[in-house]
Symmetry: D2
Subunit: 253 residues, 4 copies
């Protein structure tokens, strides 16, 4: 059974900060945002979690295994090293979608993302140790077939990007609306999705949906585990089996 722990990371009152006292240079904002994301990825990533950059001012993380103290620690570390602070909402649930709704609610209940008084909220509760099991996290790692030969080496870089984005948009919608999964583009031609337990037919249907809607052919490796890292590495190994065997769904299905 799935038991996802999702953390929503939200920069506090960030919009106003970007234009006070006047608009800040975009390059500095880009550098700052991506370094902040990298730090979160390093922090949770070495605690067996996954962080997705999402909108950069709102990042979504799979944090099974990280407790309240870990969350408070990263909040403090960012306060000590950046000009901005972060609020954290933690949600749990059988479906990743529900867990994120829960996580979001903890922040929204505390105030607006642009409330100058709302700072460093730490809301929600991580899974207790005795609620955790070896297959709490299910990850599906999707990858475009021969993206290099069909797109990168053939089209101009923006057209490739548009093609990949379209496939990605189609994929993330179907996963979310039909299956309760959360898919994130992680660069290149890859989408990592945190999903409930799904069977082979479901993955085949998802892949067929993206082929029909966005004319893009995908393969997927699926893994489950105690943490995002366990599940994610299993998914990556399954994806390699797709490559070796020419299959489109491999792994824990």
């Amino acid at each position: 059974m799935t038991n996802a722990q999702i953390t929503l990371v939200q920069l506090d009152n960030y919009g106003p900060w970007t234009v006070t006292p006047e608009p800040r240079r975009e390059a500095d904002l880009q550098t700052m945002q991506s370094r902040l994301f990298a730090d979160l990825s390093q922090f949770f990533g070495t605690r067996d979690g996954y962080v997705f950059f999402t909108r950069f001012d709102n990042m979504i993380a799979v944090t099974n295994g990280a407790d309240l103290e870990d969350h408070a620690r990263v909040q403090e570390s960012i306060r000590n090293r950046y000009p901005v602070t972060v609020s954290l909402g933690i949600g749990t649930g059988a479906s990743p979608t529900d867990a994120l709704v829960d996580a979001t609610a903890h922040l929204q209940a505390a105030g607006s993302a642009q409330d100058a008084e709302r700072r460093e909220v730490l809301g929600g509760q991580p899974l207790a140790d005795d609620e955790r099991a070896d297959d709490d996290v299910h990850i599906a790692h999707f990858d475009v077939n021969d993206a290099t030969g069909k797109y990168t080496d053939e089209l101009d870089a923006f057209s490739t990007f548009v093609r990949i984005e379209q496939g990605y948009a189609s994929l993330m919608r179907v996963l979310h609306d039909e299956y309760g999964g959360l898919g994130f583009f992680v660069g290149g031609d890859n989408v990592v999705a945190i999903v409930p337990e799904l069977d082979r037919a479901a993955y085949e249907a998802v892949i067929e949906h993206v082929r029909a809607e966005a004319d893009m052919s995908l393969k997927v490796g699926v893994g489950s585990g105690h943490t995002a890292t366990d599940a994610g590495l299993a998914a990556k190994h399954a994806l390699e089996r797709c490559r070796e065997d020419g299959t489109i769904v491999e792994g824990d299905v």
Copy 2:
């Protein structure tokens, strides 16, 4: 007149590297990719350029003002500090789209993105000093109206993300297909586009297109300048005027 200089940054043979000798942990890849992007953003950003993360393994930069030596220098700096290397293709043109086609062609001519022998290509030519003018770069900074009130504080974080992505996808397609512009999501609810010179009616049409297709209401500030930074800051100031005056198009139109 527009005179865009676009650089395509492509990680060399990156796909194979991510799975050799076996799949590398995604969190490490995310951390590495975003730090590499941050470094490029810092490098070109403090030389008055803009870098967009795009697919992370292929990044697109507006580099008016950066010469061949600058490009070679950043290539060397990355080689000295990362486990991967980058190839750089430079293109120029009256339309940003054409400039990027040109930039891409220089890399594709040198070999595949996954050719183990193709490393650290530096192709194409920057604008000569006497070809450069004060309005070479046109930037349009698009922003969603009241994203906080309508989405961030109302929907769960993924649903907000999906909404923003859909508006963004619609916007980047129309800019590219109809106007020769390149639009990039830069986080939050913002899209920065490098565009040819366009008039007010064009921007109104673009905004109306996104409203009709993706049900999202945008405003835009437009700026022009010698470099991306000049144009981009002018665009941001124009966007502030939209906020103050309740208008939807301001700036150099």
Copy 3:
């Protein structure tokens, strides 16, 4: 009683790398080295340890609380993100000096720091959970009295630096040779020392030694704890009491 766990972090075969195929630019090396140190400081620091930059190619960390898996994880993370790899030697002992001798021996036994075949050694054993106690780590945080008024605002920046370095050299020698402590300059006018349990008279003697040998007047806050962070924060609070009360030794003595 002290029970220090010290980790020696050594870049593998780094000297030859810096000049192959020809000498690399020093600025790139400086950037790379300090980012690598920052990552280690973030990694162990958020696991309640302290890392000192020392020589940058050889860094010394207090790692009570980090187990073998943590050490292996950071080794992998660096391999995945840097052009260099690290070897790690772990030592333990009642005196920090002994623990470091132990840590060093694990690496030296495996081969030379410039042996091209010796890569990513992970030697030695962390403390078992049942060997750990609440006062395992003792930290003394030394600070120069009125460094701003006496040096920074008075002398040129290099002369200030020379003065601070001289005081620091005197302090680190006496701590090491007489007391089995390891003192590290951490920037500004501060030295953080990992020490055995020492009494007030010892600290007064150390401070007097530095006054006599290097004509520099110090104060010190001393803390003990389960981890470096616990001990270090206690030491910092004790140092604040020195500031408030005009005393020169405060804390766990």
Copy 4:
């Protein structure tokens, strides 16, 4: 003739910040300081300068080739990405020592390093283009002979560190007091010094001084150039010639 341009980078009112509202964790400070230094090293380093970490709250840079606008740009970039700001003093002179005195004076004249009102000073003037020549910068890169065999592989890591520090302290003092040079430890067993034009006999005397005072045997490569990078790379190549030929002084002497 030497014509050094030296920039003093000073964190504004940093001491009080580190303990407000209460002492901040040392690991966060270490991470923040070293990332800030890395950014400066990347910024000036890719503009052909060198930055030395010195005390981290006061850093010294050789900035020949960087103008006022560059200095203002890095100041802004740091303000946009860090919780602290920096003041910059620029000095020039035939001797590096004098240039630094000049640089320091510009900051001291503007107020104390711990004056809460003194923020983001930008004082002093860079060299005008017509004052600059091809041999403005002289760099001497000193290196310990067989540091690996004699120290790293033989002594414990702290004892090696103490030995290197002692040699380094002796070297930096004699360079400063006798020759008007500024020497900085850059990690490993290396000291990079920015020096006036000195002859072979002077370098032999310096090396002999360190041998006699600190029992450490050094070699040195000397380079000159338009910028720190030019001079520094020439010095590194000269140092390689020392290695190949078994000599102790090579290069522009």
